[in-house]
């Protein structure tokens, strides 16, 4: 069973629908016991880092996620889930889980594209990946595949070895992070069509 962690961060049902569409059982839960019993966990979400961390701590889920990572359970973070695994977020100046060292930063409003056009915030829409390290979860993903992003902040891990892929939006930022049994995407796997579902499916079968 896959546990989708419920921390009042919205769009959980979208992830559940995508996993169910793949024919895989999953449950949305905020029960520590259920998360401990799960074979693998997903923590998706939209929203602000401050509110997300507050809700995780209130329910003891920060411990549950860290413990799942520590014992080697496959862990997938999506969107804000790829940010709060770092030590700190500039959004609401929030201390985060600290599974990876690093900081979550905001896009600067003054950035311009190569053509000098003002870049809009949030970074919203389809964008590609520049894959830095091959990873089993990327099997079946083509070089031209694009993914759906909606975010104003991005993760900046300290250790470059954790960066699986980067994406260009005024700057080059880490759009996939990975360490051992942890995999995290800044983009929405559940809203990225065929390649998004492919990564989700790979995760559901992954034995790191």
């Amino acid at each position: 069973m896959i546990a989708i962690i419920d921390y009042d961060a919205g769009n959980l049902a979208s992830v559940q629908r995508a996993v169910s569409h793949l024919g895989i059982q999953c449950v949305i839960t905020k029960e520590e016991a259920e998360i401990k019993a799960a074979e693998r966990i997903i923590f998706p979400g939209v929203g602000a880092a401050g509110a997300a961390m507050q809700s995780l701590r209130r329910n003891g889920l920060d411990r549950a996620i860290k413990e799942a990572f520590a014992i080697g359970k496959p862990v997938l973070g999506i969107c804000i889930g790829s940010q709060i695994i770092l030590a700190h977020s500039k959004e609401n100046d929030t201390p985060c889980l600290g599974i990876l060292d690093g900081t979550v930063r905001s896009f600067s409003p003054d950035r311009r594209s190569e053509k000098g056009q003002k870049l809009k915030i949030p970074h919203m829409g389809w964008n590609g990946l520049d894959i830095k390290k091959s990873h089993p979860l990327l099997s079946g993903v083509d070089a031209d595949d694009e993914f759906y992003f909606v975010h104003s902040y991005y993760p900046e891990p300290q250790n470059p070895d954790c960066v699986i892929a980067v994406t260009e939006y005024g700057i080059s930022f880490a759009s996939i992070l990975g360490l051992n049994n942890l995999f995290a995407t800044q983009f929405h796997l559940e809203k990225s069509g065929r390649p998004g579902l492919k990564i989700l499916e790979n995760f559901c079968k992954w034995n790191p």
Binding site: S14, H21, Q117, W126, N127, K191, G196
Partner: protein, 259 residues
């Protein structure tokens, strides 16, 4: 680099897709869930649904459509039409839409944008705008006036000022429809789109007037729109999304090529 989005728009009346010209003479053209699936498989980057059901009591039908669409396609989609309260927004989002679009209700009560943004995040709230060229006046310094009620009621409100105000209130995106261009297939209103795109910091979806791939190229490059809404040019099979996208790619527009 971010791709420009191509977004089919489905008008839905009592659970059926319909198409009218200048908001009138609507005829049913199919099942919205089937059409959404076909466009998803054909490479649409997003889908917009407008519920044009006249009766408030029959709006539950649309929520059923949204639930079925959410189980069928795995790209973002938004729902607009008849959204009047934060509770309406919540119902649509819980049914599985990525975003909700408000139009007339936001003109009458701008605070609904702020309330929606606070409850669900800016990225969920799209401001739908129907604008018409009326010439510059004291009430409309940009020359474009806001209309509500499906383009029937002029509001003596300036389109550009309204776009800027909506962004301040927390709208995450603007879907900008030209009443003059809508249904004409003669091209988007490039002046209007440029005016709004250059002044706001949030993405702008251009709407109304698409008839050929050249029209999309122009609005996405010259008029700086972030996305282009299309309807009849794909609903009736005149063009496929692949044809439109390959034309845009050849014209140097960055688009999503694989799906």
């Amino acid at each position: 680099m971010l791709s420009k989005r191509i977004i089919p728009c489905l008008d839905v009346r009592e659970g059926k897709t319909t198409k009218g010209i200048k908001f009138k003479n609507n005829v049913d053209i199919g099942d919205p869930v089937d059409m959404a699936r076909l466009y998803y498989e054909a490479g649409a980057d997003e889908i917009v649904f407008y519920d044009i059901t006249a009766s408030y009591e029959k709006r539950e039908i649309m929520l059923d459509v949204v639930r079925q669409v959410a189980e069928t396609i795995f790209i973002p989609f938004s729902v607009g039409g008849g959204i009047r309260t934060v509770a309406d927004m919540r119902n649509v989002l819980l049914a599985g839409a990525e975003k909700v679009s408000v139009n007339s209700a936001a003109v009458k009560n701008p605070d609904i944008i702020a309330q929606g943004a606070k409850a669900f995040g800016n990225q969920c709230i799209v401001l739908g705008m129907d604008a018409k060229f009326v010439g510059k006046s004291k009430a409309t310094p940009s020359g474009y006036e806001i209309y509500i009620n499906g383009g029937r009621t002029p509001m003596k409100m300036d389109a550009l000022n309204w776009a800027i105000e909506a962004q301040k209130l927390g709208a995450g995106e603007i879907c900008l429809n030209s009443i003059d261009a809508d249904g004409t297939k003669a091209g988007y209103e490039l002046n209007l789109t440029t005016l709004i795109s250059e002044e706001v910091d949030i993405p702008v979806i251009a709407s109304g007037g698409a008839g050929t791939p050249e029209h999309l190229r122009d609005v996405l490059t010259l008029a700086k729109a972030d996305a282009a809404l299309i309807a009849s040019m794909v609903h009736y099979g005149t063009y496929t999304i692949t044809e439109i996208k390959s034309f845009l790619e050849k014209s140097g527009v960055k688009i999503r090529k694989t799906w």
